[in-house]
Protein backbone atom coordinates (compact mmCIF):
# COMPACT_ATOMS: atom_id res chain seq x y z
CA UNK A 1 0.00 0.00 0.00
CA UNK A 2 1.52 3.27 -1.05
CA UNK A 3 1.75 6.29 1.20
CA UNK A 4 -0.70 8.21 -0.91
CA UNK A 5 -3.47 5.64 -0.80
CA UNK A 6 -2.91 5.03 2.92
CA UNK A 7 -3.20 8.72 3.57
CA UNK A 8 -6.32 8.82 1.47
CA UNK A 9 -7.75 5.86 3.41
CA UNK A 10 -7.09 7.55 6.74
CA UNK A 11 -8.49 10.87 5.57
CA UNK A 12 -11.65 9.34 4.14
CA UNK A 13 -12.05 7.19 7.26
CA UNK A 14 -11.83 10.28 9.44
CA UNK A 15 -14.22 12.15 7.17
CA UNK A 16 -16.73 9.31 7.28
CA UNK A 17 -16.52 9.13 11.08
CA UNK A 18 -16.93 12.90 11.38
CA UNK A 19 -19.86 12.81 8.97
CA UNK A 20 -21.57 9.95 10.79
CA UNK A 21 -21.16 11.52 14.23
CA UNK A 22 -22.28 14.86 12.79
CA UNK A 23 -25.43 13.22 11.48
CA UNK A 24 -26.03 11.47 14.79
CA UNK A 25 -25.60 14.77 16.63
CA UNK A 26 -27.95 16.52 14.20
CA UNK A 27 -30.53 13.78 14.73
CA UNK A 28 -30.27 14.11 18.52
CA UNK A 29 -30.55 17.91 18.36
CA UNK A 30 -33.51 17.61 15.98
CA UNK A 31 -35.22 15.20 18.39
CA UNK A 32 -34.55 17.51 21.32
CA UNK A 33 -35.99 20.55 19.58
CA UNK A 34 -39.02 18.67 18.22
CA UNK A 35 -38.01 18.63 14.57
CA UNK A 36 -38.70 14.94 13.93
CA UNK A 37 -42.27 14.06 12.89
CA UNK A 38 -43.93 10.86 14.15
CA UNK A 39 -43.94 9.47 10.59
CA UNK A 40 -40.17 9.86 10.12
CA UNK A 41 -39.72 6.16 9.33
CA UNK A 42 -39.87 4.44 5.96
CA UNK A 43 -38.68 5.50 2.53
CA UNK A 44 -40.46 8.87 2.65
CA UNK A 45 -39.25 9.66 6.17
CA UNK A 46 -36.37 11.78 4.88
CA UNK A 47 -38.69 14.08 2.94
CA UNK A 48 -41.26 14.24 5.74
CA UNK A 49 -38.56 15.11 8.26
CA UNK A 50 -36.90 17.77 6.10
CA UNK A 51 -40.26 19.42 5.44
CA UNK A 52 -41.46 19.30 9.04
CA UNK A 53 -38.12 20.41 10.51
CA UNK A 54 -37.70 23.32 8.09
CA UNK A 55 -41.29 24.45 8.65
CA UNK A 56 -40.87 24.28 12.42
CA UNK A 57 -37.72 26.41 12.15
CA UNK A 58 -39.22 28.91 9.69
CA UNK A 59 -42.93 29.04 10.49
CA UNK A 60 -43.47 28.24 14.16
CA UNK A 61 -45.19 31.58 14.82
CA UNK A 62 -46.14 32.72 11.34
CA UNK A 63 -49.82 33.38 10.67
CA UNK A 64 -51.85 31.93 7.83
CA UNK A 65 -52.90 34.61 5.37
CA UNK A 66 -56.23 36.19 6.27
CA UNK A 67 -58.49 37.60 3.59
CA UNK A 68 -61.08 40.38 3.48
CA UNK A 69 -64.70 39.24 3.89
CA UNK A 70 -65.28 40.18 0.25
CA UNK A 71 -63.13 37.27 -0.88
CA UNK A 72 -65.23 34.65 0.94
CA UNK A 73 -66.17 31.99 -1.64
CA UNK A 74 -69.90 32.16 -2.39
CA UNK A 75 -70.18 28.37 -2.62
CA UNK A 76 -67.71 26.58 -0.34
CA UNK A 77 -67.25 23.03 -1.55
CA UNK A 78 -67.80 20.39 1.16
CA UNK A 79 -65.76 17.39 0.14
CA UNK A 80 -67.00 13.83 -0.17
CA UNK A 81 -68.37 12.62 3.17
CA UNK A 82 -68.49 9.04 4.38
CA UNK A 83 -72.06 7.89 5.18
CA UNK A 84 -73.09 9.32 8.55
CA UNK A 85 -73.26 6.78 11.37
CA UNK A 86 -76.49 6.12 13.31
CA UNK A 87 -74.81 7.58 16.40
CA UNK A 88 -74.13 10.81 14.51
CA UNK A 89 -77.64 10.93 13.08
CA UNK A 90 -79.01 10.60 16.61
CA UNK A 91 -76.99 13.66 17.70
CA UNK A 92 -78.06 15.51 14.57
CA UNK A 93 -81.74 14.81 15.25
CA UNK A 94 -81.31 16.17 18.77
CA UNK A 95 -79.64 19.35 17.50
CA UNK A 96 -76.26 18.27 18.93
CA UNK A 97 -77.29 19.25 22.49
CA UNK A 98 -75.76 16.02 23.81
CA UNK A 99 -72.51 16.34 21.80
CA UNK A 100 -69.50 16.23 24.10
CA UNK A 101 -65.87 17.06 23.57
CA UNK A 102 -63.86 15.14 26.16
CA UNK A 103 -60.28 16.12 26.99
CA UNK A 104 -57.99 13.62 28.69
CA UNK A 105 -54.39 12.43 28.86
CA UNK A 106 -51.61 14.61 30.23
CA UNK A 107 -53.84 17.29 31.71
CA UNK A 108 -54.30 18.51 35.27
CA UNK A 109 -58.08 18.35 35.05
CA UNK A 110 -59.72 16.00 32.53
CA UNK A 111 -62.96 17.58 31.38
CA UNK A 112 -65.79 17.36 28.92
CA UNK A 113 -67.46 20.23 27.09
CA UNK A 114 -70.77 20.64 25.32
CA UNK A 115 -71.07 22.78 22.21
CA UNK A 116 -72.85 25.36 24.38
CA UNK A 117 -69.89 25.33 26.80
CA UNK A 118 -67.50 25.99 23.93
CA UNK A 119 -69.70 28.80 22.62
CA UNK A 120 -69.71 30.42 26.06
CA UNK A 121 -65.99 31.15 25.76
CA UNK A 122 -64.80 34.23 23.84
CA UNK A 123 -65.38 33.41 20.19
CA UNK A 124 -62.75 34.14 17.56
CA UNK A 125 -62.92 34.11 13.79
CA UNK A 126 -60.66 34.33 10.80
CA UNK A 127 -61.25 34.45 7.05
CA UNK A 128 -58.84 31.87 5.72
CA UNK A 129 -58.46 29.42 2.91
CA UNK A 130 -59.27 25.74 3.14
CA UNK A 131 -57.11 23.79 0.73
CA UNK A 132 -57.46 20.17 -0.26
CA UNK A 133 -54.44 18.00 -1.01
CA UNK A 134 -56.12 17.34 -4.39
CA UNK A 135 -55.54 20.95 -5.41
CA UNK A 136 -58.83 22.82 -4.96
CA UNK A 137 -59.58 25.48 -2.37
CA UNK A 138 -62.09 27.98 -1.04
CA UNK A 139 -62.13 30.86 1.42
CA UNK A 140 -64.53 31.03 4.36
CA UNK A 141 -64.95 32.75 7.69
CA UNK A 142 -64.29 30.22 10.43
CA UNK A 143 -65.70 30.84 13.93
CA UNK A 144 -64.68 28.99 17.04
CA UNK A 145 -62.72 28.92 20.23
CA UNK A 146 -58.93 28.76 19.99
CA UNK A 147 -57.76 25.29 20.95
CA UNK A 148 -55.25 26.93 23.30
CA UNK A 149 -58.16 28.34 25.36
CA UNK A 150 -59.58 24.87 26.02
CA UNK A 151 -56.11 23.46 26.70
CA UNK A 152 -55.51 26.19 29.27
CA UNK A 153 -58.80 25.34 30.99
CA UNK A 154 -57.77 21.72 31.51
CA UNK A 155 -54.13 22.54 32.30
CA UNK A 156 -51.75 20.80 29.94
CA UNK A 157 -48.80 19.20 31.72
CA UNK A 158 -45.34 20.51 30.75
CA UNK A 159 -44.20 17.24 29.16
CA UNK A 160 -47.04 17.32 26.61
CA UNK A 161 -45.89 17.20 22.98
CA UNK A 162 -48.92 16.25 20.91
CA UNK A 163 -52.68 16.70 20.94
CA UNK A 164 -54.54 13.72 19.50
CA UNK A 165 -58.00 14.54 18.16
CA UNK A 166 -60.65 11.98 17.38
CA UNK A 167 -63.63 12.25 15.07
CA UNK A 168 -67.00 10.53 15.45
CA UNK A 169 -66.39 9.09 11.97
CA UNK A 170 -65.09 5.53 12.41
CA UNK A 171 -61.28 5.16 12.47
CA UNK A 172 -60.71 8.86 11.98
CA UNK A 173 -58.17 10.53 14.22
CA UNK A 174 -55.15 12.75 13.87
CA UNK A 175 -52.65 14.69 15.96
CA UNK A 176 -50.74 17.97 15.99
CA UNK A 177 -47.67 19.18 17.86
CA UNK A 178 -47.84 21.84 20.57
CA UNK A 179 -46.69 24.56 18.14
CA UNK A 180 -49.84 24.03 16.10
CA UNK A 181 -52.03 23.31 19.14
CA UNK A 182 -51.12 26.63 20.77
CA UNK A 183 -51.11 28.59 17.50
CA UNK A 184 -53.61 31.48 17.71
CA UNK A 185 -55.37 30.48 14.47
CA UNK A 186 -55.97 26.86 15.50
CA UNK A 187 -59.67 26.65 16.36
CA UNK A 188 -62.18 24.21 17.65
CA UNK A 189 -64.52 25.50 15.00
CA UNK A 190 -68.32 25.57 15.41
CA UNK A 191 -69.33 28.33 12.98
CA UNK A 192 -68.82 29.28 9.36
CA UNK A 193 -69.65 32.47 7.45
CA UNK A 194 -71.71 33.88 10.31
CA UNK A 195 -73.77 30.71 10.85
CA UNK A 196 -73.57 27.35 12.54
CA UNK A 197 -70.96 25.08 11.00
CA UNK A 198 -72.96 22.98 8.49
CA UNK A 199 -72.75 19.21 8.90
CA UNK A 200 -71.13 18.67 5.46
CA UNK A 201 -68.34 21.01 6.61
CA UNK A 202 -67.86 19.16 9.89
CA UNK A 203 -70.56 20.56 12.18
CA UNK A 204 -71.07 20.67 15.05
CA UNK A 205 -67.31 20.76 15.73
CA UNK A 206 -64.30 20.71 13.45
CA UNK A 207 -60.57 21.08 13.99
CA UNK A 208 -59.49 24.11 11.98
CA UNK A 209 -55.77 24.51 11.15
CA UNK A 210 -55.42 27.11 8.41
CA UNK A 211 -51.70 26.34 7.97
CA UNK A 212 -52.37 22.72 7.10
CA UNK A 213 -54.17 20.84 4.32
CA UNK A 214 -57.89 19.99 4.50
CA UNK A 215 -57.59 16.36 5.56
CA UNK A 216 -55.81 17.46 8.74
CA UNK A 217 -58.88 19.63 9.58
CA UNK A 218 -60.94 16.72 10.90
CA UNK A 219 -64.72 16.95 11.07
CA UNK A 220 -67.00 15.87 13.98
CA UNK A 221 -64.47 16.17 16.81
CA UNK A 222 -65.44 14.35 20.02
CA UNK A 223 -62.24 13.82 21.94
CA UNK A 224 -58.82 15.34 22.62
CA UNK A 225 -55.99 13.41 24.24
CA UNK A 226 -52.82 15.15 25.36
CA UNK A 227 -49.69 13.00 25.13
CA UNK A 228 -45.91 13.18 25.12
CA UNK A 229 -45.50 10.47 22.47
CA UNK A 230 -47.47 9.05 19.56
CA UNK A 231 -46.36 5.52 20.45
CA UNK A 232 -49.40 3.54 21.47
CA UNK A 233 -51.74 5.50 19.22
CA UNK A 234 -52.46 3.15 16.33
CA UNK A 235 -49.21 2.32 14.58
CA UNK A 236 -47.46 5.26 16.20
CA UNK A 237 -47.00 7.40 13.10
CA UNK A 238 -49.39 10.06 14.35
CA UNK A 239 -52.65 9.76 12.41
CA UNK A 240 -55.12 7.45 10.72
CA UNK A 241 -54.24 9.27 7.47
CA UNK A 242 -50.58 8.34 7.94
CA UNK A 243 -51.57 4.69 8.30
CA UNK A 244 -53.40 5.05 4.97
CA UNK A 245 -50.25 6.43 3.32
CA UNK A 246 -50.85 10.17 3.78
CA UNK A 247 -48.32 12.46 5.47
CA UNK A 248 -48.76 13.46 9.11
CA UNK A 249 -47.53 17.04 8.63
CA UNK A 250 -49.38 18.83 5.86
CA UNK A 251 -48.08 22.39 5.80
CA UNK A 252 -46.99 21.53 2.26
Amino acid sequence: MSNLSRRRLIVSGLAATAGASGLAMAARLAQKYGLIPPDHGGIYGLGETLTYASHRLLTRHSLAREFPRSSISPRPFPNDLAPLTDEFKGHQAAGFVNWRLSVDGMVAQPASFSIADLKSYPSHSHVTELTCEEGWSYIAEWIGVPLSHVLNLVGVLPQARYIVYVSMEPDTWDSIDMADALHPQTFLCYGMNGNELPVPHGGPLRMRLPRQIGYKNLKFITRLTVTDSMKGFGKGCGSAACEAGYAWYTGI
Binding site: E48, H55, L63, E129, E133, S137, Y246, G251
Partner: protein
Protein backbone atom coordinates in the same frame (compact mmCIF):
# COMPACT_ATOMS: atom_id res chain seq x y z
CA UNK B 1 -13.28 15.62 -4.49
CA UNK B 2 -9.66 14.59 -5.06
CA UNK B 3 -10.48 12.84 -8.34
CA UNK B 4 -12.05 15.86 -9.95
CA UNK B 5 -10.46 16.59 -13.28
CA UNK B 6 -8.26 13.49 -13.35
CA UNK B 7 -10.24 11.26 -15.73
CA UNK B 8 -8.52 9.96 -18.84
CA UNK B 9 -8.93 11.75 -22.09
CA UNK B 10 -6.56 11.51 -25.03
CA UNK B 11 -5.32 14.91 -26.05
CA UNK B 12 -6.48 15.42 -29.59
CA UNK B 13 -5.25 17.88 -32.12
CA UNK B 14 -8.77 18.65 -33.31
CA UNK B 15 -9.92 20.04 -30.00
CA UNK B 16 -11.33 23.54 -30.09
CA UNK B 17 -8.87 26.10 -28.81
CA UNK B 18 -11.11 26.88 -25.84
CA UNK B 19 -10.13 23.62 -24.14
CA UNK B 20 -7.07 22.36 -25.93
CA UNK B 21 -4.42 24.12 -23.85
CA UNK B 22 -5.70 22.65 -20.65
CA UNK B 23 -6.01 19.22 -22.18
CA UNK B 24 -2.48 18.91 -23.37
CA UNK B 25 -1.08 19.28 -19.90
CA UNK B 26 -3.89 17.80 -17.81
CA UNK B 27 -6.59 15.79 -19.58
CA UNK B 28 -10.00 16.92 -18.32
CA UNK B 29 -13.18 14.91 -18.61
CA UNK B 30 -15.97 16.19 -20.87
CA UNK B 31 -18.11 16.66 -17.76
CA UNK B 32 -16.69 17.04 -14.26
CA UNK B 33 -17.52 14.35 -11.70
CA UNK B 34 -19.80 16.75 -9.89
CA UNK B 35 -21.71 17.63 -13.05
CA UNK B 36 -22.12 13.94 -13.87
CA UNK B 37 -23.34 12.93 -10.43
CA UNK B 38 -25.74 15.87 -10.07
CA UNK B 39 -27.02 15.26 -13.62
CA UNK B 40 -28.13 11.71 -12.83
CA UNK B 41 -29.55 12.53 -9.41
CA UNK B 42 -31.55 15.28 -11.13
CA UNK B 43 -32.68 12.81 -13.79
CA UNK B 44 -33.97 10.35 -11.18
CA UNK B 45 -35.72 13.10 -9.22
CA UNK B 46 -37.19 14.57 -12.39
CA UNK B 47 -38.87 11.27 -13.25
CA UNK B 48 -40.12 10.84 -9.69
CA UNK B 49 -41.51 14.40 -9.74
CA UNK B 50 -43.08 13.89 -13.16
CA UNK B 51 -44.86 10.62 -12.35
CA UNK B 52 -46.08 11.79 -8.95
CA UNK B 53 -47.03 15.20 -10.35
CA UNK B 54 -49.22 13.52 -12.95
CA UNK B 55 -50.82 11.37 -10.23
CA UNK B 56 -51.59 14.46 -8.14
CA UNK B 57 -53.06 16.29 -11.14
CA UNK B 58 -55.32 13.28 -11.83
CA UNK B 59 -57.01 13.85 -8.47
CA UNK B 60 -58.11 17.29 -9.71
CA UNK B 61 -57.40 17.85 -13.41
CA UNK B 62 -58.94 21.32 -13.34
CA UNK B 63 -56.88 24.53 -13.28
CA UNK B 64 -57.87 27.98 -12.08
CA UNK B 65 -56.49 31.48 -11.91
CA UNK B 66 -56.42 33.60 -8.76
CA UNK B 67 -56.58 32.57 -5.11
CA UNK B 68 -59.25 29.88 -5.00
CA UNK B 69 -60.97 27.35 -7.25
CA UNK B 70 -62.98 24.15 -6.85
CA UNK B 71 -65.61 22.11 -8.70
CA UNK B 72 -68.25 24.73 -7.84
CA UNK B 73 -66.31 27.46 -9.66
CA UNK B 74 -65.51 27.61 -13.35
CA UNK B 75 -62.02 26.48 -14.27
CA UNK B 76 -59.52 28.22 -16.53
CA UNK B 77 -59.32 24.85 -18.30
CA UNK B 78 -59.75 21.18 -17.52
CA UNK B 79 -57.54 18.40 -18.86
CA UNK B 80 -59.56 15.82 -20.84
CA UNK B 81 -58.50 12.95 -18.58
CA UNK B 82 -60.33 10.81 -16.02
CA UNK B 83 -59.98 11.67 -12.33
CA UNK B 84 -59.24 9.72 -9.17
CA UNK B 85 -62.00 11.59 -7.31
CA UNK B 86 -65.71 10.84 -7.56
CA UNK B 87 -66.85 14.45 -7.27
CA UNK B 88 -64.71 15.85 -10.09
CA UNK B 89 -66.93 16.05 -13.17
CA UNK B 90 -65.25 14.36 -16.15
CA UNK B 91 -66.52 12.89 -19.41
CA UNK B 92 -65.52 9.43 -18.21
CA UNK B 93 -67.85 7.00 -16.48
CA UNK B 94 -65.23 5.67 -14.08
CA UNK B 95 -63.01 6.87 -11.23
CA UNK B 96 -59.31 5.99 -11.09
CA UNK B 97 -57.74 4.65 -7.88
CA UNK B 98 -56.38 7.22 -5.42
CA UNK B 99 -52.57 7.45 -5.56
CA UNK B 100 -52.09 10.78 -3.77
CA UNK B 101 -50.64 9.54 -0.47
CA UNK B 102 -47.35 8.13 -1.76
CA UNK B 103 -47.36 10.54 -4.72
CA UNK B 104 -47.32 13.60 -2.48
CA UNK B 105 -44.70 12.05 -0.17
CA UNK B 106 -42.39 11.10 -3.05
CA UNK B 107 -43.03 14.41 -4.85
CA UNK B 108 -41.83 16.43 -1.86
CA UNK B 109 -38.97 14.07 -1.02
CA UNK B 110 -37.70 14.18 -4.63
CA UNK B 111 -38.13 17.96 -4.57
CA UNK B 112 -35.93 18.20 -1.47
CA UNK B 113 -33.25 15.99 -3.01
CA UNK B 114 -33.25 17.81 -6.36
CA UNK B 115 -33.20 21.27 -4.78
CA UNK B 116 -30.27 20.36 -2.51
CA UNK B 117 -28.53 18.76 -5.50
CA UNK B 118 -29.21 21.87 -7.56
CA UNK B 119 -27.78 24.09 -4.83
CA UNK B 120 -24.60 22.00 -4.74
CA UNK B 121 -24.40 22.22 -8.53
CA UNK B 122 -24.90 25.98 -8.64
CA UNK B 123 -22.41 26.68 -5.84
CA UNK B 124 -19.76 24.45 -7.42
CA UNK B 125 -20.57 25.86 -10.85
CA UNK B 126 -19.82 29.34 -9.57
CA UNK B 127 -16.66 28.27 -7.72
CA UNK B 128 -15.23 26.26 -10.63
CA UNK B 129 -16.35 28.84 -13.20
CA UNK B 130 -18.36 26.07 -14.91
CA UNK B 131 -21.09 28.50 -15.95
CA UNK B 132 -18.64 31.10 -17.21
CA UNK B 133 -16.52 28.57 -19.12
CA UNK B 134 -19.09 26.11 -20.40
CA UNK B 135 -22.47 27.82 -20.49
CA UNK B 136 -22.21 31.58 -20.93
CA UNK B 137 -22.07 32.09 -24.72
CA UNK B 138 -19.27 34.07 -26.26
CA UNK B 139 -19.96 37.03 -28.53
CA UNK B 140 -19.18 34.84 -31.53
CA UNK B 141 -21.66 32.19 -30.32
CA UNK B 142 -24.35 34.85 -30.30
CA UNK B 143 -24.14 36.01 -33.91
CA UNK B 144 -27.44 35.41 -35.67
CA UNK B 145 -25.84 33.35 -38.39
CA UNK B 146 -24.15 30.98 -35.91
CA UNK B 147 -27.26 30.68 -33.79
CA UNK B 148 -29.42 30.02 -36.83
CA UNK B 149 -27.06 27.35 -38.12
CA UNK B 150 -26.95 25.61 -34.74
CA UNK B 151 -30.73 25.78 -34.60
CA UNK B 152 -31.47 24.59 -38.13
CA UNK B 153 -28.91 21.77 -38.31
CA UNK B 154 -30.65 19.48 -35.84
CA UNK B 155 -34.01 20.31 -37.41
CA UNK B 156 -32.65 18.80 -40.63
CA UNK B 157 -31.46 15.89 -38.45
CA UNK B 158 -27.81 16.63 -39.24
CA UNK B 159 -25.34 15.25 -36.73
CA UNK B 160 -23.04 17.72 -34.98
CA UNK B 161 -19.41 17.74 -36.07
CA UNK B 162 -16.78 15.90 -34.04
CA UNK B 163 -15.49 19.16 -32.57
CA UNK B 164 -18.90 19.90 -31.11
CA UNK B 165 -18.55 16.89 -28.82
CA UNK B 166 -16.24 18.95 -26.58
CA UNK B 167 -18.24 22.10 -26.13
CA UNK B 168 -21.74 23.51 -26.42
CA UNK B 169 -22.91 25.77 -29.24
CA UNK B 170 -24.75 29.05 -28.64
CA UNK B 171 -28.25 27.57 -28.84
CA UNK B 172 -27.33 24.85 -26.34
CA UNK B 173 -25.73 27.38 -24.00
CA UNK B 174 -28.76 29.66 -24.05
CA UNK B 175 -31.14 26.73 -23.60
CA UNK B 176 -29.24 25.29 -20.63
CA UNK B 177 -28.99 28.72 -19.01
CA UNK B 178 -32.73 29.27 -19.53
CA UNK B 179 -33.60 25.89 -17.99
CA UNK B 180 -31.15 26.34 -15.10
CA UNK B 181 -31.86 29.93 -14.18
CA UNK B 182 -35.43 30.54 -15.37
CA UNK B 183 -37.43 27.29 -15.50
CA UNK B 184 -35.95 25.55 -12.43
CA UNK B 185 -36.29 28.61 -10.15
CA UNK B 186 -39.83 29.20 -11.43
CA UNK B 187 -40.93 25.62 -10.85
CA UNK B 188 -39.45 25.68 -7.33
CA UNK B 189 -41.01 29.06 -6.53
CA UNK B 190 -44.47 28.12 -7.83
CA UNK B 191 -44.24 24.84 -5.93
CA UNK B 192 -43.33 26.56 -2.66
CA UNK B 193 -46.10 29.12 -3.24
CA UNK B 194 -48.61 26.26 -2.84
CA UNK B 195 -47.25 25.25 0.57
CA UNK B 196 -49.52 26.60 3.32
CA UNK B 197 -46.69 26.61 5.86
CA UNK B 198 -44.23 28.32 3.53
CA UNK B 199 -46.65 31.07 2.47
CA UNK B 200 -47.65 31.77 6.06
CA UNK B 201 -44.02 32.87 6.57
CA UNK B 202 -43.50 34.35 3.09
CA UNK B 203 -46.92 35.56 1.86
CA UNK B 204 -45.36 37.71 -0.88
CA UNK B 205 -44.18 34.55 -2.62
CA UNK B 206 -47.75 33.64 -3.53
CA UNK B 207 -49.04 37.21 -3.88
CA UNK B 208 -46.46 37.91 -6.61
CA UNK B 209 -47.77 34.94 -8.60
CA UNK B 210 -51.39 36.10 -8.32
CA UNK B 211 -52.71 33.61 -5.74
CA UNK B 212 -52.40 29.94 -4.84
CA UNK B 213 -54.43 28.62 -7.78
CA UNK B 214 -52.36 30.80 -10.14
CA UNK B 215 -49.22 29.32 -8.60
CA UNK B 216 -50.60 25.81 -9.24
CA UNK B 217 -51.38 26.67 -12.87
CA UNK B 218 -47.92 28.22 -13.36
CA UNK B 219 -46.35 25.14 -11.75
CA UNK B 220 -48.20 22.99 -14.30
CA UNK B 221 -47.08 25.02 -17.33
CA UNK B 222 -43.45 25.33 -16.22
CA UNK B 223 -43.42 21.56 -15.66
CA UNK B 224 -44.76 21.14 -19.21
CA UNK B 225 -41.91 23.34 -20.48
CA UNK B 226 -39.41 21.18 -18.57
CA UNK B 227 -40.89 18.03 -20.13
CA UNK B 228 -40.58 19.66 -23.55
CA UNK B 229 -36.94 20.44 -22.75
CA UNK B 230 -36.43 16.79 -21.73
CA UNK B 231 -37.79 15.56 -25.09
CA UNK B 232 -35.60 17.94 -27.10
CA UNK B 233 -32.59 17.17 -24.88
CA UNK B 234 -32.93 13.40 -25.34
CA UNK B 235 -33.66 13.90 -29.04
CA UNK B 236 -30.44 15.89 -29.46
CA UNK B 237 -28.48 13.28 -27.49
CA UNK B 238 -29.81 10.61 -29.87
CA UNK B 239 -28.89 12.75 -32.88
CA UNK B 240 -25.36 13.38 -31.62
CA UNK B 241 -24.87 9.72 -30.72
CA UNK B 242 -26.74 8.33 -27.76
CA UNK B 243 -24.02 6.06 -26.34
CA UNK B 244 -21.06 8.41 -26.69
CA UNK B 245 -22.97 11.32 -25.12
CA UNK B 246 -24.41 9.13 -22.38
CA UNK B 247 -20.99 7.64 -21.75
CA UNK B 248 -19.56 11.15 -21.49
CA UNK B 249 -22.15 11.95 -18.83
CA UNK B 250 -21.47 8.71 -16.91
CA UNK B 251 -17.68 8.22 -17.15
CA UNK B 252 -16.65 11.65 -18.39
CA UNK B 253 -14.94 10.14 -21.44
CA UNK B 254 -15.74 11.10 -24.98
CA UNK B 255 -16.27 8.33 -27.52
CA UNK B 256 -13.44 7.74 -29.98
CA UNK B 257 -15.39 8.01 -33.18
CA UNK B 258 -17.00 4.57 -33.23
CA UNK B 259 -20.09 6.57 -32.59
CA UNK B 260 -22.58 5.80 -35.28
CA UNK B 261 -23.27 2.10 -35.60
Amino acid sequence: MGTLGRAQLPAEASLPSRVSNALVTKPAPRHSALVRVTHWITTLCFFALLVTGIEIVISHPRFYWGETGNVLTSPLFQLPIPSSRRLVPTRYGYVLPDQNGWSRALHFEAAWIVVLTGLLYVISGLLTRHFRKDLVPSRADLSWRTLLTSFVKPLRWQRPSAAEAFSYNGVQRLTYLFVLFVLFPLVIWSGLAMSLGFISAFPWSVALLGGRQSARTIHFFVSLALVLFLFVHVGMVCLAGFWSRTDAMITGRIGTGKEHP
